[in-house]
Symmetry: D2
Subunit: 290 residues, 4 copies
């Protein structure tokens, strides 16, 4: 039985995810590097802003940080309650999940890699998809806590499996961004009506999350709202390529896409939305996708 | 006002598309190279199996043939009724549509390139998506006939625009086939549960027609049912790449995918379903997507 | 026996190539769109600047123009002497060579596609490599004239074969430009001494014309002297890719390189040297190859 | 002053490299896992076959093993003489060189990564190219020993720089293998005489080590003699790609080539020569490069 939960890392996602916890648990600790954010959360949602040593005394400890590096540093700096489950919602590195899983086992702590998808709106409405890697028992024990913000919650394999699925998902998003940009640039060059073409493709076999959502809502309307930064997508495609390399597989489309997203990210501002990856094509063709 | 319609080419798609015409038009001619097919259609659906010279006397003439080459040969061999509209539902070549459009204009015949998507089930239930290129007046005049089998019917641009959209759609399908095969092979190599991963991705930003339909219904269950042959997908990716070349664009993901689908098709039987393109990856990795 | 020769197109290459002809033939006509160039050539080298109708009365007529399109237009505008041999030294399109070969045969004129390599220095010293496509007899008959500026002269196949070899050569140059830029950028990022590395590679299996000449003489010294414009290299890589497409082959490295050179050309000034293709990588990595 | 040298790993390269040492040094230890090879070497060249603990008491210790993994294991198992220099001629991993360099420094041992190129013939004639990473003083001290088998010997940078240059060299070799196979397949498909084409390209800007040596001597004559195994080339292309990833660079041609060589290696026997990488293209096109 989970008596207490903690949430570490109150960024755009974490802040909203943690907001659902008090409805399900009496004791909800929150912590954030910029501590004012934690205090604001406590005021707004009835959580308890505590210092880090206390936060890691909870039964279930969530973390949601920029990269696995921050998670590793944070975990190395604290003494976690024996018997706790650490649920890391970062879009992290599978190798790091395996390492942390081994390390924490020595302290009788379970580690689950549990990245989420669904963006800030999914965090707000507690309808996130959560892909979980780690031991089955730990997954089952942590499930009631994860359900506070997740809708589709799947145990996808052992340590690192959750991060792997997230990386592949984001790689597929990246592939679609590139190929859709290439295809629609060609259509525009040939005088095709892009909106009519999009309607057809969205009713056909070539559709994807990018054609259904990203292209109409972020690109064609030239809004590129920052909800997921392009450098983070570049990082995730790198994680996916590392999965390929570690298994000594041949994945030419993934390898090429990683190069293109990396180049596009290198050419962009740090705070560009992932959808602005298409601008590298616009710089080449002088054709604007609108 | 359309008094008579004709349908030329009663393959898996055409046979079912033509079946809806008698509900809307009194005079429906059908013709097929293997003429028994036309006679069978007449018996089954109340159409009239006629010879080719008579078929091309209809107000609206549909064609649905393997490639633009067959359409060009057929049109070169007949004398079409002046004032007719030729609606070509083949997945054809944009350049050919421009050529035929010019040629037929000399005979006072309008040409529309109007490829369809939705597979045989869409043809059966008259819910096909139809992407139409050509002149607006011709489109408006032919629309009532197209509505017999189409649900979403869009005028996407001038001559060749319909073929262009279809080629790009099928190219996006091809890109997704390759990238999903690459990604899921990596997941399996790392011990991830593919079905659980698929559920997560289909609720996330990386989803596509391939993850939603092709992967679970054709690949993971190892059925590879032949509904759209891999060599035809290879042909369509070639059309898409030619669009890129003609406009002197840079489209690395499309160019690479065309190479991979071409190689995969070259390695397969002629009557392999398009979904078996993933087998080239299986031959490399010795990992079966199931 | 060749009594008279003509040279049409006195650009950077043609001007120097034509200069050798008077040493071997009594009658040498020259013609250029900007006719002052022809007159200057006559003064300088003892050739005869004549109008186009007279130039095409020579026994052997050389042309050296920017693309096959200019050659086609020029040939369509003149009446060539029956029995003449037209030797086109343009870096042209194989399909065009086949077309012109057929056309000229009707006028009893032989056509050879005979592109050259060796740059302006090779033209000056009459040491060009000439790769010739067309009929064997025509090749043998034209050989004494070609020897005026060529050193290695090879009959590589039927009509279009010469252009094909040139296109593939330039594609290989393009592939090496890209891969060398990628590899040396990586070496510099890792703190390696590029000049020492280059010495090692030029004594090893990874060497190429690019590592031996282009990298040290044009790139690392940041000179990028214009001798062969990047848009022309982009055109040639397109010809190579079209060869692939026509034969329905799978050539992923060639297809990708064509995309990269096209993008690099689109980003550059029209009069950039081909070697400046590496600047697309420099714009991504912020690492300068010097 | 170097009094004694040792050579560890008497494979096809090491056996021949070690043979030159007795001409320059009085004390030459050799060691090999299969010890008979060491004893044979002693008999043949006057070296001393000793056990591993004694071998690592030499002033300069060479190693030449399949991968960095074997080097790491071997070094972890021995107690090296303080003040010695370890010169690793393996085609190894730059990260491993940095790690071993740090480790050995603690034991007052210098580590140089010093991979070679020039094949067995270069080893036999003492004309190898040696690309050396590590500290300048160590390089200068070890140089007299390296000169026993090396001709062009370059200090290319700090720890790992030698391995990096070797990896990039072999990647460029791999890129050329793929692009030459693609280009010559296209030429053959278009009826071009491959030998005549090769002569032209070898006198032109597209030439490379592959066109000058590998294509005529290993591929076109269908000999594919095993001197450097394809799986080792696949390993080296992986090292090059890792260099790209670590520096977060975009290198699409390298990334794609790594995928193709990996696939080609996966399809081949373990003991296939690297040149047989072209067979993946032959399996696609049914066109044999001969």
């Amino acid at each position: 039985m989970i008596q207490s939960v903690a949430f570490i890392g109150l960024g755009a996602m974490g802040y909203r995810m943690a907001a659902h916890l008090p409805q399900h648990f009496d004791t909800v600790y929150v912590w954030n590097r910029n501590f004012e954010k934690a205090q604001q959360h406590a005021t707004e949602y009835g959580t308890q802003a505590v210092d880090l040593p206390q936060a890691v005394q909870a039964d279930v400890i969530f973390s949601c940080l920029p990269t696995s590096k921050e998670v590793e540093q944070l975990i190395a700096s604290v003494s976690i309650k024996s018997g706790a489950i650490w649920v890391d919602c970062t879009s992290g590195v599978p190798e790091s999940a395996k390492f942390l899983s081994e390390q924490l086992k020595l302290q009788q702590v379970d580690f689950l890699d549990a990245p989420v998808s669904g963006q800030t709106i999914g965090a707000e409405t507690a309808t996130l998809t959560v892909m979980v890697g780690g031991e089955t028992t730990a997954f089952e024990n942590a499930l009631p806590a994860i359900q506070a913000f997740g809708k589709l919650i799947k145990h996808v394999g052992g340590a690192g499996a959750g991060f792997s699925v997230k990386a592949v998902n984001n790689m597929l998003l990246a592939v679609n961004l590139c190929s859709v940009a290439e295809g629609f640039t060609a259509l525009k060059a040939h005088g095709v009506d892009l909106h009519a073409a999009l309607d057809c493709i969205n009713a056909s076999s070539g559709k994807s999350g990018v054609t259904e959502t990203v292209l109409p809502q972020r690109i064609l309307n030239r809004s590129f709202p920052l909800t997921f930064a392009l450098p983070l997508l570049a990082k995730d495609t790198g994680i996916a390529l590392d999965l390929i390399r570690e298994a000594k597989l041949s994945a030419p489309v993934i390898a090429l896409t990683q190069s293109l997203i990396q180049a596009s990210s290198d050419l962009s501002n740090q705070d560009s939305d992932f959808s602005s990856a298409v601008k590298i094509y616009e710089s080449w063709s002088k054709i604007t996708l609108e």
